[in-house]
């Protein structure tokens, strides 16, 4: 029999329905695995006891015939989602010890669907980063190893690095992520799993620690496309508590996996081939196009002319919103306080001690671009360019049904690389940020390995609220890719 931890959510769901094992057994297997792989640093807080209780309750519900879409499925929750009574840190020292008296809408919906929470997953501090190296609670290690240098520690990507590492290492069947500029898709690509950032407004932001409100969006990270579809079905939906939540019904995403993409037009943006893009990335992209052609879809070259401005636009908009969203961490009502002689002294000391360097840097950039005399040149300008970037996509989607691009410009890199210059680090998100600025759904799935045996991801981008087409095309590509490689120790 396959190890319980190696099953997909869909497989476990079907086997539990047949009575092959219980939710408690499935959860125990994951708790054991989680505890055995603590060296990955994937979890900030483990909630094993609570998970057992939830699993027992799930088994009782099943006996009573109440079976949710994720009944008995053990999941990890990114530590950016507030979980009632369970420490929620956003990977920041400033929130250490904070126990929210409320449950985020998305994690609450997952609970309501019958899932079991294994613990809170590590991330870049306040979701700011692409390497998961900025967490106060330690770096997350990518479970994949480079063939040429197996001793080298690789990053899992970020900001949902704990989520990606946990799913890849089989210490959670699925996980929640959040994506502001690529924080689901880039770590999914680095860890050889699948993740989707749905359309902005598809999942409620209520109860998720905010980074950049106009960009933040929750989404699932799992082993395959079907599992993502199942999870998103439970996570999505209108929430009256979030004014930006879309008042739309939730489609049956799993039902969209028909395998039939004949006649679909797939946009291939010519601007996604920047100078210096590695051959291995180009190759996997070409391969993806071939798979789609073979399945009866038509590739169409498209132009997204403002692509090169997405990164600078993002690095004005996101820090600006963050500088304001993070003002509430002042040592007064929750989290860490450093005493001071005056109120301002307390603020400055608490925030200096509570925030790490990347967060401080972004708060300062955001403060600057909003300040008197600079607002028009930076913030307002960026918001205008953002519209042009969004309009590029609108125009492209008049001709195509979905867009295919690489997810990231490289495979996972070493922990000792790329970290000195913030701008170089940000280049990791060059392919994911435009989608975020336009609020579109974007899915990353593993498409192959590079020469070093590390996974590479491809990204599918859809029209607003058309996650179904994205899933459908992703399902076809997944079958064609037949990505069966596993990280070390699985």
């Amino acid at each position: 029999m396959t190890k319980l931890t190696n099953l997909t959510i869909a497989q476990a769901r079907d086997k539990m329905a047949k009575g092959e094992f219980t939710a408690l057994e499935l959860t125990e297997a994951h708790i054991t695995a989680m505890q055995a792989k603590r060296s990955l640093g994937a979890y900030i807080t483990e909630t094993a006891e609570q998970a057992r209780e939830e699993a027992k309750a799930s088994d009782l519900r099943r006996q009573a015939g109440q079976i949710g879409a994720l009944e008995g499925i053990p999941l990890g929750i990114k530590d950016l989602f507030c979980t009632k009574g369970v420490q929620t840190t956003a990977a920041s020292h400033i929130l250490e010890g904070f126990k929210p008296p409320y449950e985020s809408t998305v994690s609450g919906k997952l609970k309501a669907a019958g899932s079991v929470m294994l613990g809170k997953l590590n991330l870049d501090e306040f979701a700011m980063g692409s390497s998961n190296m900025t967490s106060y609670y330690g770096k997350v290690v990518n479970p994949w190893k480079s063939k040429s240098d197996p001793a080298k520690l690789l990053v899992p990507g970020g900001s949902s690095g704990g989520s990606a590492a946990a799913v890849a290492a089989r210490i959670a069947m699925g996980a929640t992520g959040t994506d502001t500029g690529g924080s689901i898709r880039q770590p999914a690509a680095f860890c050889g799993i699948t993740g989707i950032k749905p359309t902005y407004g598809r999942c409620s932001r209520w109860g998720i620690v905010a980074f950049a409100s106009s960009l933040d969006q929750a989404g699932p990270m799992a082993r395959d496309v079907r599992d993502c579809a199942i999870m998103l079905g439970s996570m999505a939906g209108h929430d009256a508590k979030d004014s930006t939540s879309a008042p739309l019904p939730v489609p049956n995403f799993e039902a969209a996996l028909t395998g039939d993409i004949r006649g679909l037009k797939v946009g291939i943006p010519k601007e996604y081939r920047p100078d210096g893009l590695s051959d291995e990335i180009l190759r996997v992209w070409e391969q993806g196009i071939e798979w789609l052609k073979a399945a009866g879809a038509t590739p169409v070259e498209i132009s997204l002319p403002h692509t090169k401005y997405a990164l600078p636009t993002y690095y004005i908009v996101a820090p600006a919103e963050a500088s304001s969203n993070l003002a509430r961490y002042d040592g007064l009502r929750f989290g860490q306080r450093v005493e001071g002689k005056t109120l301002d002294d307390m603020y400055k000391k608490s925030r200096a001690a509570g925030f790490g360097s990347e967060v401080r840097r972004r708060i300062m950039i955001g403060t600057y671009v909003l300040s008197a005399g600079y607002y028009d040149a930076y913030y307002s300008k960026a918001q205008k360019v953002r519209r042009l970037i969004a309009e590029d996509f609108t125009k492209a989607f008049q001709d195509v049904d979905v867009i295919l691009t690489p997810t990231a410009p490289s495979a996972a890199f070493g922990m000792d690389e790329n970290t000195d210059d913030p701008v170089t680090m940000w280049l990791n998100d060059v392919f994911t940020i435009p989608t975020s600025l336009a609020g579109l759904p974007g899915l990353s799935l593993p498409a192959g390995l590079n020469a070093d045996g590390l996974p590479l991801g491809l990204q599918l981008i859809g029209r607003p609220f058309d996650e179904e087409t994205v899933f459908k095309v992703a399902g076809v590509m997944e079958s064609a890719a037949n990505f069966t490689a596993l990280p070390e120790g699985v």
């Binding site: 956003a90 929130l95 929210p100 985020s104 508590k241 002042d330 009502r333 909003l370 008197a372």
Partner: protein, 483 residues
Amino acid sequence: MIIQGDTGDWEIVIGLEVHAQVISKSKLFSGAATDFGAEPNDQVSFVDAGFPGMLPVINEKCVEQAVRTGLGLKAKINLTSVFARKNYFYADLPQGYQISQYDMPIVGEGTLLIDLADGSSRAIGIERLHLEQDAGKSIHDMHPSKSYIDLNRSGVALMEIVSKPDMRSPEEAGAYLTKLRTILRYLETCDGNMQEGSMRCDANVSVRPVGSTELRTRCEIKNVNSIRFVQQAIEYEARRHIDVYENGGEIRQETRLFDSAKGETRSMRSKEHAHDYRYFPDPDLLPLVVAQDFVDGIQATLPELPDDKKARFMTDFGLNSYDAGVLVAERASADFFEQVAAGRDAKMAANWVMGDFFAAMNSGDYSWEKPPVSAVNLGKMIDLIKDGTISTRLAKDVFIFMVETGKDPAIIVEEKGLKQVTDTGAIEKAIDEIMAANPDKVAEVKAGKDKLMGWFVGQVMKATQGKANPGMLNELIVKKFQE
């Protein structure tokens, strides 16, 4: 108002920013209650306390109230408006920003007519009205080294109503606040209670030589909690500016506090930092769009406003400007008056309402919900005067009994026997008795001492317990002495 300085005459330029707490059950962006006087931090949602992941959702009633107020100020309603974050750090500002409106407020330019003591009126421009969140409250006297923070008020909806710098004297500023409060109360959009802080005023004051049109540096006096104090603060501040200018100094733009005990303003230490509020559209909220139908629907339910009501009272009831002004100062007093005056002598009704009735109202624990005398009974009493059942003099007694017992005036007249005597024979008999008892005084009158006639009237009144019809009594006495 012109202030004479050592170097010449000065004019004051005043603009007022009024923060009016919107009447609503729950807060602007959360479902917590807005009642005054709750236990500390009891009316606080996690949204109001700025907890991680909490998001604002706007209260439709607050939007309606802002539009209603805008219409009451004859202002332009902006069908699309935008909420922006005003970023600054303060202990009672939990989010680290206040959600307000910046370059796209819900209400644009309007006007307000102020009524001055000399009976004249003047139009003051309204610059804008916008919706914003209130902050919490810092209490500084509970601990030697700490300030205590209560967030009950955090997130309560405020309308910031900004005037143009159109006022030229403390009197005009007072008249503006009085009139604005009257209109807000008519509209039932703010209770106007300055003591409880549901209406607060910041005054922007500058001065300039008479004849100049320049706008000199202004100082903002924060949170003054009565109209009288606003006037005192403006006057003090204007004289301070003049002193500084006349001594060759410069006024620094700053925020000042009014110390009502000392009657002076002082610089506010906590506001010394240079401010840079970094306004930007709140990404948690989308543009607020109201339909023209929604606005029209509110327009259709607007009450008659004080200026219109005053004009109508003058035309329909023949009241003078002063009386009409006093009566319309509160919607309840105007309604009360109209009920009393309906189908009656309006001038007499006005005199009774503004005289004995207002005096009774102020003398005890009364309110418009629980008036000392009901409008129905006061009306009936006036009817009794008009039909001659009681004299105006007797009516004053009847009124007192009405206050004491709440009874119908006709019943009081009956029970107390206060019906006026109009029987000529009875009055003549009383006169005859008094004359017979005072032959010396009769002789004096007859000798030409007319003044004593009044003494006889008084004596007869006394003998009839005040019930003799005064007109008839006077007539009969004159007749008797002529006999």
